[in-house]
């Protein structure tokens, strides 16, 4: 039966229908829904791992034990999982193994826009690049077959516009899962140098066989049209190019590594002007140029940065598009912001006031870097808040600077990569104040379960790690609780943490209001008492705003948005802000 589903949902469904047995991943936009949808299938085991390295290693175990396995992550997650990946390519698989990676061209929700096709080349593994939900669905089954036929892990790569775009899918008959034997095979799975040397040769031979396969597989298809323009492309770029040039000829690649050289030569020879349309890096173009084939339009006309679209392709081909209504300039930006009543708001209000250097991390709290708070000064990758703060403190000491850095990290990020940083900091006599915002969820990606939330991905009650005893076990002696809704207490606690020499950890245990749907009565401003001093606006809450322009602008609270946490009211020196008992109209 026809369904309209996203690429992520299609991969999940494809996994279930392809006899998938075991799935493990870590949340990360735009990959997250894939595993959530596997969980919704109900009859396939899946789990959130503490990080991507653990997820891929677990999937390797699943494959060795004979079950078709899937590991899901976003592009930067593969950096974390690169260690197992680069040796997994040597061992190969028992049952099929797919690493699904979702790239984010345009950086809608990422810290960089790395092109994962580089990893397929780097690890010498085959990679599939679906162009819509139907292909995403089909390529899971094809991927397992390739993985098993060639004894290789396979990367299934999507981009945001595939993962999150919904299209029509017609599912096929389900393959019942079959779990194979769990075989001991030392030369295959123990990568000591002597075995590894043999395996490396096999990896190179495998790549040649895959190249032959690429020449004939229907995953790579030629669609001949007008021979004036021939376009080589893959993934969502194919759709944009089809839109821009409906009559052109296409070599549409589904298997994007390794490339089918003969097929490319043949196609190039059959068209007048060769165009390569690929998002981000010039992966196809570099290889095709290296074959000695002339490319007329590629990255000379199309951007290396950001997403490709139909208008950019038209422009590269010299077509102009006329825009009738010009975009309106100078409108107030509407960046994402802490939810009304989020506990992070109180923390960053105080950090901003204290003007400390804040070494940040990946999560909702990264928004603390934006105006008006501006209270986060470095964000690199998962876990770097603590380890970078440690390095800063060491160099500060050498420079004679008497300033202690603050690291801010959330619970899921702490479990992912913060624990090792804190262990290292304690071991090396570090000197940082580490604030762990333990809201018992993976907030940024929409509230996924984690080792602190008390439930698994499949809704089974689970061990719930307590952070304070864990931190103490790592060697941190000064550990205290924090309540970021209480501004005075928060300021005092942070000051104490900064004044106390050595490592100091503060843990805020207020839950995520979005995940746990907490509702409180709204705040109202007494217009007679409000002086319009704007002190409350420093908390950066979208429920607040100034009254319409007039002589003296005062603050008003939008009862459709306010969730009554009262952080703004604590900023008021004129006792003008109070909760209205029993009311909550919050609509967002």
């Amino acid at each position: 039966m026809k369904k309209i589903i996203s690429g992520n949902e299609a991969i999940a469904l494809g996994f279930g229908d392809a006899g998938g047995v075991f799935a493990s991943g870590y949340p990360g936009t735009p990959s997250t829904e894939t595993l959530e949808e596997v969980a919704r299938l109900g009859d396939v085991y899946c789990e959130w791992a503490a990080n991507e390295k653990v997820a891929l290693e677990a999937a390797i175990g699943g494959s060795i034990a004979g079950g078709r396995s899937l590991s899901t992550m976003k592009h930067v997650g593969v950096n974390v999982a690169a260690d197992p990946l680069m040796t997994l390519t040597y061992t190969g698989v028992n049952a099929g193994l797919i690493l699904m990676v979702a790239d984010d061209p345009g950086m809608h929700s990422s810290q960089n826009e790395q092109d994962s096709r580089n990893y397929a080349k780097f690890a010498k593994v085959p990679m599939l690049d679906p162009a819509d939900s139907q292909e995403a669905y089909d390529m899971v089954r094809a991927g397992f077959e390739i993985s098993e036929q060639f004894d290789t892990p396979l990367m299934l790569r999507t981009t945001t516009r595939i993962s999150h775009a919904k299209g029509v899918v017609v599912p096929h008959a389900k393959v019942e899962p079959q779990i194979g034997e769990w075989v001991k095979d030392v030369p295959k799975y123990v990568m000591l140098p002597n075995f590894g040397k043999i395996k490396h040769v096999q990896v190179e031979e495998r790549l040649l066989k895959l190249q032959e396969f690429a020449e004939t597989t229907p995953l790579n298809r030629v669609e001949m049209g007008d021979t004036e323009i021939g376009i080589i492309t893959s993934g969502v770029s194919y759709q944009h190019a089809r839109e821009a040039c409906p009559n052109a000829s296409f070599l549409k690649l589904g298997l994007v590594h390794p490339l089918p050289e003969r097929k490319i030569r043949e196609f190039a020879a059959s068209v007048k002007r060769l165009v390569i349309v690929e998002e981000m890096d010039a992966i196809f173009e570099e290889q095709i140029r290296a074959m000695g084939i002339e490319v007329e339009i590629g990255k000379n006309k199309l951007p290396l940065c950001g997403e490709i679209n139909a208008d950019l392709i038209r422009a590269a081909l010299g077509d102009t598009t006329t825009k009738v209504i010009p975009p309106v300039e100078g409108l107030p930006q509407r960046p994402p912001v802490f939810c009304p009543s989020c506990a992070h708001r109180g923390l960053f209000t105080i950090l901003s006031k204290l003007k400390a250097f804040v070494s940040g991390d990946i999560g909702c709290y990264t928004l603390g870097a934006l105006p008006p708070m501006g209270a986060m000064h470095s964000v690199i990758d998962m876990g770097a808040s603590i380890s970078a703060a440690h390095g800063m403190a060491k160099v500060n000491a050498l420079a004679g600077r008497d300033e202690k850095p603050v690291a801010v990290i959330g619970d899921s990020t702490f479990f992912h990569s913060g624990i090792t940083g804190l262990l290292s900091l304690a071991y090396n006599g570090g000197n940082a104040l580490v604030i762990i915002m333990d809201n018992r969820t993976t907030g940024m990606t929409g509230g996924q379960e984690n080792p602190g939330s008390g439930n698994t991905l499949q809704g089974v009650a689970a061990k719930q790690v307590e952070i304070a005893p864990l931190v103490k076990a790592l060697g941190i002696e000064n550990v205290a609780e924090l309540d970021a809704y209480d501004l005075e207490a928060t300021e005092a606690a942070i000051k104490k943490g900064l004044e106390t020499p050595g490592p100091y950890v503060l843990i805020d245990k207020n839950p995520c209001i979005l995940r746990y749907r907490i509702r409180k009565p709204a705040i109202k401003v007494d217009q007679d008492k409000c002086t319009g001093c704007r002190a409350c606006l420093k908390v950066a809450c979208m429920a607040l705003g100034l009254t319409a322009s007039g002589e003296k602008q005062k603050v008003r609270v939008d009862p459709n948005v306010c969730n009554g946490c009262g952080v703004c009211a604590q900023m008021c020196k004129f006792d003008a802000m109070h909760a209205i008992e029993g009311e909550n109209n919050a609509n967002l």
């Binding site: 809608h108 999150h164 208008d311 009738v324 107030p332 912001v337 979208m542 948005v561």
Partner: protein, 190 residues
Amino acid sequence: MQIFNIVIAGVGGQGVLMASKVLAESALASGMDVKQNEVHGMAQRGGSVISFVRIGEQVNSPVVMPGTADLLISFEPLEALRYIHYLKPEGRLVYNKVSINPSTVAAGLAVYPDDVEQQITTACAAAQGIEALSIAREAGNGKAVNMVMVGKVMEYLPLKEDVITEVVKQISRDKGVDVNMKALAGGAAA
């Protein structure tokens, strides 16, 4: 048939994605090809959200290009203005008149223009604003703004109203069916 391009804009938390789902499912139920796409990264409330629904015999790209939208539905006036250049010259604009402050305005760093609605009308003379929040409240829940907006635009879509109504019925949670039906009807009458 030509591809019918819809852009839905609003603020994170307003239900833009659910409205998009209703339109996409209705297109599928009508036997058409459809692609629907939005960028949803951060889960927080309050950011600008834009979603595309493309309906036709065969739809390739999931992305609507500026200057090509047949219909822009905005759940908030400032967001209507932000994406108004997506409309084609004869395109139609329907927006909710209830404004929501961006965080930049809430923090006193920017001013919400007080002539947003005039600017909308200047750019698109046929624009229609409705009081979607009060209609949603009358229907029983302020959160049903999205269904009010869907109700309002039903007559402009290449889809039958009874198909849309049936889809809304199917995807509403039990107790939400009544509210959503009233919201659809309220929007259609606005």
